[in-house]
């Protein structure tokens, strides 16, 4: 009888808290169903289950548990259901989602709260009453930094620090850079956008993403994971797209099978991904599946972006801001839209020659935008 356990939603995750169950005991679950919402340092993530069967023994909400801890049990449909376990002596408080959020904002521990709801459940009123009764000498929590839904960005900052620190300690990075003539792609894009409504228009970013995905088909040594002192290539190309969060913080959730999606499909996926990264609803698989990271955060800032590889990935591609520069075409100097593409890669897995091939392939793909 397999268990549904706390997934590792990123190499740096150590614990998570189930804050919502999307299924009830006794329901049938199918592989890929979102069955729980887990609060992590990256915010609330919709976690999918990849087992099939009848789910039972759901862990109570609001308890922080380590990666690998059992969250529920999945019985195959043919197994007889176990009788429900006798109530345990340990009291784990039940808490409503609204109360949980309010408690988080006020920096209150669940153990500090008294539940007046059914089964001793903690309600929003209980949290507010506790806050009201706080003695003047108790330090009241200072206002949380402006961020979505009372989400504290400090744990995310710490998580980024841990991941990036580990990356720089463990991964010997090498760096390559290439200036790419975006002229043909720009012309193609302008032509497309002239004949499409705003909602169907494309951003240069989707061309950069698609070109990178297609380049990885030719250079698969940069698409995969370094684990147990060996490189494991990934059969699928799932670039993690770097998204800056408005309150501060950074995530790079996966766009699955980017090489197989059309530009309009990628645009829809990108828009949806950015929305969910910023306001909630990212799925666990989007955090665990990136096979490489692509960052285009130079959008309106830096001309070139040299990234830090996110373990266990082995490479990160960076695109800077589009700039207008003099460029030689034939024997003429003409103004052209130029973008600087960079690659940071793990020297244990690849050498400069391979990295150079990737950048060359990205360049080639962008010279034939109609084929993207």
């Amino acid at each position: 009888m397999p268990d549904f356990t706390m997934p590792a939603l990123g190499a740096d995750m150590e614990t998570g808290t189930v804050v919502e169950w999307r299924v009830k005991p006794g329901e049938t679950v199918r592989s890929g169903d979102v069955i729980a919402v887990v609060e992590t340092h990256k915010g609330a993530i919709d976690v999918e289950c990849f087992l099939e069967g009848v789910i039972d023994d759901l862990v109570p909400l609001g308890t922080e548990l380590p990666v690998g801890a059992v969250l529920a049990r999945i019985h195959s449909a043919s197994e007889a259901r176990r009788p429900p376990p006798a109530p345990s002596g340990a009291i784990r408080p039940k808490i409503s989602p609204a109360a949980r959020r309010a408690a988080l904002e006020r920096d209150l521990r669940l153990s500090d709260l008294h539940g007046s709801g059914p089964d001793g459940a903690i309600t929003l009123a209980d949290v507010q009453r506790r806050d009201h009764n706080a003695t003047p000498t108790m330090a009241s929590p200072t206002a949380q930094p402006a961020s979505r839904q009372g989400f504290d960005t400090t744990p995310m900052r710490q998580a980024i620090a841990a991941a990036m620190g580990r990356s720089k300690r463990e991964i010997p990075h090498y760096y390559l850079s290439s200036t790419i003539d975006f002229g043909p792609a720009q012309a193609w894009l302008e032509s497309w956008n002239r004949t499409h409504e705003p909602i169907d228009r494309l951003l240069p970013a989707v061309l950069l993403l698609k070109a990178t995905a297609m380049a990885l088909v030719e250079v698969p040594q940069l698409n995969g994971f370094y684990e147990n002192a060996a490189f494991r290539p990934s059969p699928a190309i799932n670039p993690g797209w770097a998204v800056a969060l408005r309150g501060g913080g950074l995530m790079a959730p996966a766009i699955h099978d980017a090489n197989h999606r059309s530009l309009p499909e990628l645009m829809v996926a990108l828009r949806d991904l950015v929305q969910r990264a910023r306001t909630g609803g990212l799925r666990g698989s989007e955090l665990t599946d990136p096979t490489i990271t692509v960052t285009s955060l130079g959008d309106r800032g830096a001309e070139s972006v040299l990234g830090v590889i996110y373990p266990p990935q082995v490479a990160i591609v960076g695109f800077g801001r589009m700039v207008l520069r003099p460029w030689v075409v034939g024997d003429q100097v003409v103004p052209r839209s130029i973008v600087t593409a960079t690659l940071a890669a793990d020297h244990r897995v690849s050498d400069g020659h391979v990295g150079g091939q990737l950048l060359a392939a990205i360049n080639a793909a962008l010279q034939s935008p109609q084929a993207l």
Partner: protein
């Protein structure tokens, strides 16, 4: 659309893109993208919202006229 309607629509669309932003603190001649830290995706979503909210077609070539509130007031007044 009159000036008041334009301001209302702009505020409404931006509230969905930069919900924590205080539009009243942004000057009419200031570049909204800088003031509200809008990237290219945010700006395109802004254009989508303006176009759908006003019924106006907004070709890409006209985007620079939408960077400031003054520009918006002039452009959308039709």
């Amino acid at each position: 659309m009159n000036a008041s309607e334009i301001r209302t629509l702009v505020a409404k669309v931006l509230s969905g893109i930069a919900p924590e932003a205080d539009l009243s603190s942004v000057g009419d001649a200031e570049d909204l993208r800088e003031a509200l830290d809008l990237d290219s995706m945010d700006f395109l979503n802004f254009v989508v919202g303006l176009s759908e909210g006003s019924g106006l077609a907004i070709p890409e070539a006209d985007y620079p006229r939408l960077f400031t509130m003054n520009g918006l007031l002039g452009y959308m007044d039709r």
